[in-house]
């Protein structure tokens, strides 16, 4: 019996202790008419060898093209140490650290994670993760509504330069609570939100979302946007790429007062692409609004003998205590992913992370330059970018991508479905995992496809 250790003798002795003749008798409180028939739709069990054979075949079936696509999920090198340690059973098979004394490993690691994320974003505090970047933004919006007590409007300004999928997820999650997401259009020259285009008397706004870099890869004028929002009584929610934080102004330093809440997708920090998950969302904020933050938070304390230790704290915000008035319904988060991210940041260090960020920036610029030499291929926006850029193509994007795919290249993200005005455009990315040979291959393939 897979994973069931009972011998026949054990089972007999146990049934006797229960005072029944068969296991079936233990189900005698279930009304007989509810009992299910055999599970004919499920195949018979297989051993590990047979399952292994099948899964190897399935994994080999999927093409592994050379990837020049980001759009929210980025291929980075992951040091071997990261997952070797993360999948140790003591991390992999532990539960949420409710019994603090028996979970000091996970708790100390998460305290280090909170410190690292606070440092990276230059914010005061961080939580121990949310599900992914999109849901982290939804939670940030809900948090802003709770934290901005002066605002009664429940009105969030959401730039169109925020990842379209994130906008969709936020809408799906927050619309039940009477919150309105008001779209802000982007500057067609820069591909960013032009601060000069913002109204001078916007009325009651609860929060402004600022993506950095934005979905087009462009860097927003975060200082001006932050100051504008604060002038009008709105909180600032930054949604940022953690790799970019190594080289660009972190949200804690935006404008005069800094962002109030910061969130984002943690995948670039040591998490494999893996068809979209599991990844993790992160969230940081100013300490004065930490009681409005959702999710697990770890705090340092002392034990009976005065020795340093770590516990889950501020639990009265959470669903298991506060029930219908909790800050969120979240309980299980993405613990193992934050374990990997913490080890990733420690192994890379500040120099390593900066190296990755610089290499991504330089590679994407080199790629864009090389592709831009092809007839009819040009950049669409003129704002500075981090590691993604929008290109215009002389032919419909879907057709070009299909051609590239035949040549083993995943050439980028087609923007036309989400931005109908950007037809024939492509969002490209070259992380540190792409080298000159890869980029030459892309350019050659694109020339062929467009020829």
């Amino acid at each position: 019996m897979p994973f069931i250790p009972h011998t026949e003798d054990d089972t007999r002795a146990m049934l006797a202790a229960c005072g029944v003749d068969s296991i079936e008798d233990l189900f005698d409180e279930i009304p007989p008419e509810l009992r299910a028939d055999a599970l004919d739709g499920i195949p018979p069990g297989r051993d590990e060898l047979a399952v292994s054979r099948l899964l190897h075949a399935r994994a080999a079936q999927d093409a592994q093209p050379l990837c020049f696509t980001g759009a929210g999920a980025y291929e980075h090198h992951i040091p071997a140490a990261v997952w070797e340690i993360t999948t140790r059973g003591e991390y992999y098979s532990a539960y949420t650290p409710y019994q603090a004394e028996a979970s000091q490993g996970t708790l100390q690691l998460l305290y280090e994670f909170q410190t690292m994320m606070s440092e990276l974003t230059a914010m005061e505090v961080a939580n121990a993760s949310l599900y992914d970047g999109a849901t982290a933004l939804a939670e940030a919006v809900l948090m802003a509504v709770r934290a901005n007590r002066k605002s009664k409007a429940r009105r969030i300004l959401m730039p169109r330069t925020v990842h379209p999928r994130y906008r969709g997820v936020v809408q799906a999650i927050v619309h039940h609570q009477g919150i309105t997401l008001e779209l802000l259009d982007y500057d067609t020259a820069g591909g960013h939100i032009n601060p000069a285009s913002l109204p001078t008397t916007p009325g009651d706004i609860t929060a402004l979302v600022i993506p950095q870099p934005n979905f087009f890869g462009a860097l927003e004028d975060a200082d001006a946007l932050t100051d504008w929002a604060h002038t009008h009584g709105a909180l600032v929610i930054g949604v940022v790429n953690p790799t970019a934080m190594a080289v660009i102004t972190p949200p804690g330093e935006w404008g005069a007062a800094g962002a109030d809440i910061v969130c984002g997708e943690g995948q670039p920090l040591g998490i494999p692409l893996a068809s979209g998950g599991p990844y993790f969302g992160f969230m940081c904020c100013k300490q004065k609004i930490v009681r409005q933050m959702p999710g697990r938070i770890i705090g340092a304390t002392v034990d009976l003998e005065g020795k340093r230790g770590y516990v889950l704290t501020l639990q009265a915000r959470e669903q298991h205590i506060r029930r219908s008035k909790a800050t969120s319904n979240i309980c299980t988060n993405q613990g193992l992913m934050t374990t990997a991210a913490t080890i990733y940041m420690a192994v890379m260090g500040p120099a390593g992370l900066e190296g990755v960020a610089r290499q991504c920036h330089a590679n994407t610029r080199a790629l864009v330059q090389q592709l831009g030499e092809i007839d009819g291929v040009e950049t669409v926006f003129d704002r500075p970018t981090f590691h993604e850029t929008v290109l215009r193509l002389p032919r419909p994007t879907a057709e070009v991508l299909a051609g590239l795919s035949e040549r083993g290249i995943f050439g980028g993200f087609d923007l036309s479905a989400d931005y109908p005005e950007l037809d024939n455009t492509l969002l490209v990315c070259a992380t540190e995992t792409r080298n000159e040979t890869d980029m030459d291959a892309y350019a050659a393939a694109l020339r062929e496809v467009l020829a």
Binding site: R291, Q315, A316, R317, I321, R322, K325
Partner: protein, 131 residues
């Protein structure tokens, strides 16, 4: 046994009320309530100037293991909130009936006072809950 001063009035939801005689009342949570909740770690108080209806949730007292809503015992306007509790929420544990007060209300309708329990009735309520 919990301490139930006879000069105060009480609610079924474990608030105490001190009638100040000038149309205002001071409100806190009873010794019994603080003992049930345990060590206080945070208190959220209504802003002065807020209008409250009797029975409305208007404050939260939080311990490590529980968070409990405090209900306005009567209708009126919040005159003051106990700022001391922001930094020293444990005052509710050590001195629930004096320094551990939560807020003061200017009454809109003194007739509501008749709805409150006296110390004897509240003691009975506490004794029942213990069983």
């Amino acid at each position: 046994m919990s301490n139930i001063p006879s000069e105060l009035k009480y609610t079924k939801s474990h608030e105490w009320v001190r009638i100040e005689g000038d149309g205002t009342v001071t409100v806190g949570i009873s010794d019994h309530a603080q003992a049930l909740l345990g060590d206080m770690v945070f208190v959220e108080l209504p802003e002065p100037g807020t209008s409250l209806d009797a029975g409305e949730e208007c404050a939260v007292v939080e311990s490590v293991k529980a968070a409990s809503d405090v209900y306005a015992p009567m209708t009126g306007e919040v005159l003051a909130a106990n700022e001391l509790l922001e930094d020293a929420p444990e005052t509710i544990n050590t001195d629930a009936y004096n320094d551990g007060w939560l807020f003061r209300i200017k009454l809109a309708d003194e007739a509501e006072l008749k709805e409150l329990l006296d110390a004897e009735a509240y003691a009975e309520l506490v004794a029942e809950e213990d069983h």
